[in-house]
Symmetry: D2
Subunit: 244 residues, 4 copies
């Protein structure tokens, strides 16, 4: 039997502590809900880590043992230590998968990897979002027929200041008239990155079966298929020729 | 003074003949409206060509003298002679610009250049479309602030079966809940191609000032900046070294 | 146990009949060598088909049962019936994987899918080619450290007239001074396409272990992960909303 | 008459001070040579700025008045103040063009914009580089027929750890057997970025007429065609609808 994909579900975890509404929607935290969804899959083993743990729960040992890291943050992006961001960045380039969720678009690690401002427009109006599949047969959209309907969400609108994605898997229609590229892949170094828009602290998005399906698909897609060593070496003439 | 960009505005021109509603919206034909919009620009000289002219109005001489060709067709794609498609295809690869409009997504020349089925989903419900700029500062979007609002249009929905575009300039929100990648660039050979969704035979889309602005921007963007010779030559060792 | 990936290895098969040198390098044909390499893998089942069989060996039944088709042709591209190309094209868009090899760059099916002339520059000088990995950790490059060295090959040089690839996995250095993008992926419809440059009728390229490894990797990568129906349907308002 | 494109040519300027060989090749500094090449163009006005000037010569006023910034650095990347990098980064996203040259691949500003390590392999062997045009008719390659030959250069080899470029304009063949993607465009925010590999402190690369032609072409290509405001605003329902 193949080894399970080792996932670390990272969450800021502050909204849950401060806002009883959030605590009610996510009694085990947003991280708890996501980990639960992933652990329901036979090939995935998910644990959690949060901002207020030592090293934000992301020690060298934890990172070394992580195939795919998922990231949720919103109100405390600046409280994430640069040293931890450095390590996550390096691991991602070396091959670790990274799934950035919703308001994680402004997380240090995402802005670091994108190189842009990652800004967008937003409105918490609880109106309908429809995410359309724009890359059929992509493994991340497996099991999603045409679209995902989320009856009540926060709106995110273009322009979303990111580099051109490698693949655009989902594009959202918001009832208020906006659109958003909401499922995007980026290859950086040896690592695969997936940004997925859905998710909010008060709308119960991570309980939605279609959203949970995409999360599991994305974990499988982002799992490492190789690694890269970050170095900039001098190479003598003929170095690549195999000895006879 | 720089020479004007020579544009040939091609139109199937059948709806105008058969449907009095269309004839009323476009008394000089869809081609007439587009040519008029372009000729209002100081740097563009547009003439027209239609399906029912000899060689569909696209003789070798006309094509040779065309910097940018715009294409509108809908009900008679199959009536376009393959020999003409061959010539337009070759000219496009050699460097001529090509702007494909609305229902031209199923035109032979567009499917030929894309290599895919170019299918999509549609509904003539006359509801609102909002085209959002997703590539700010792109010359094709010059003068468009955030979006273009078309109060009454036909709906086109994803999945739009095209290769990944080089650039996605506009994405549309339709009031019915769909989305569509509606302003797309593709480089093929030495030629630049722009697909632009807006346009319909009964909705007066080509009278809209913002649509006209994009058309003129696109002509400037697609104008040739070089050319390519289509050949697959044997090259002897050292052929590229300049004689001393 | 998972079902094996069903591969059909297609070959023009004319050089082998006409040229004793080719027949000596590939006693079972180029198709025989490729099928042998693939059948050495536990998860792949390869059969062959050639130009001179009825329907070129690509009946509806064969195509229906094919997960991935590999294509080698050179001197007889024009002898491939358009009706067969139509069927292969449709199957590829619907989700079948397609691997186009070497001189297949001018095959009807490849030019059809690319939409460009697919021309390049060439020289049969038997000099060294080094293919460098430019997308580390991509599954198609699994097991290839830095590069593949082919001591004696035909040269293919840029400009290679193709659309921008989705991913550039290999770029070749030729001893004569040229370069070539030699391992390229393209998504078209629901299908995955891989173009791989190495291969020639008189140089024993398909006996090279690294080339064989890439072929097997590419088959796994191109195997269908979903399908698409080619249609352009009218959709009534609200069609995507699930009935309660 | 149209206003000239305002270019600031930035150079670290340390090699010139420490190494008489460099000072002999570039008596006015690398910046002096590049500025001279650009100022020979009728539509470009270039000034210079160097590391050891106050604010590295890049005050707010200078940056505000800069349409396109070119960047050369090598031995003192770490001496560039983060505050200056922050400002250049912001200006680039807002629309300023940026041309990064040669060893600038490890400059803070380039790594910041790419989000990757930007590492590569290298060798100062003074052997031949041939840069092949892989995007014909691109304005950056205007006037370059097939390739640029540099008889004696430093080698840069793949894997070059960058995000997938928007366009690959040049790919290099090195006599030692390596390849390198050596002319690359990236759009970030409203800004255009061009990375161009040629250039070294002891080889007289910036005196080469073809290299100078590409630099001038790149300046024209990177000149702003619009701007973007970096913000992440709340937008009320209907905000984009124009008042009647």
């Amino acid at each position: 039997m193949a080894a399970k994909i080792q996932v670390t579900v990272w969450n800021e975890g502050r909204h849950e502590k401060k806002n009883p509404v959030v605590a009610k929607v996510y009694p085990k935290g947003i991280h708890g809900a996501i980990a639960e969804a992933l652990n329901a899959q036979p090939d995935i083993a998910a644990r959690t880590a949060t901002l207020d743990e030592p090293e934000h729960g992301l020690s060298d040992e934890v990172l070394r043992g992580t195939d795919v890291l998922t990231w949720w943050g919103h109100m405390a992006h600046d409280d994430v230590a640069d040293a931890v961001v450095d390590k996550v960045h390096q691991r991602a380039l070396e091959g670790m998968g990274l799934i950035v969720l919703h308001s994680g678009h402004l997380a240090k690690i995402f802005r670091r990897l994108m190189g842009t401002s990652c800004t967008l427009r937003w409105r918490e109006d609880g109106a309908r979002e429809v995410l359309w599949v724009t890359c059929p047969a992509h493994p991340i959209a497996a099991g999603i027929d045409d679209c995902i309907i989320l009856p009540h969400t926060e709106m995110y609108g273009e322009f979303f200041d990111i580099p051109q994605p490698d693949e655009t898997i989902f594009i959202s229609n918001f009832a208020g008239g906006e659109v958003f590229r909401s499922g995007l892949t980026f290859r950086r170094g040896a690592g695969r990155i997936f940004y997925f828009r859905p998710g909010h602290e008060t709308f119960p998005i991570y309980h939605d079966p279609a959203v949970r399906k995409v999360l599991a698909n994305a974990v499988r897609w982002a799992a490492p298929t190789g690694s890269m060593k970050i170095e900039c070496p001098h190479k003598p003439l003929g170095w690549f020729e195999k000895p006879v």
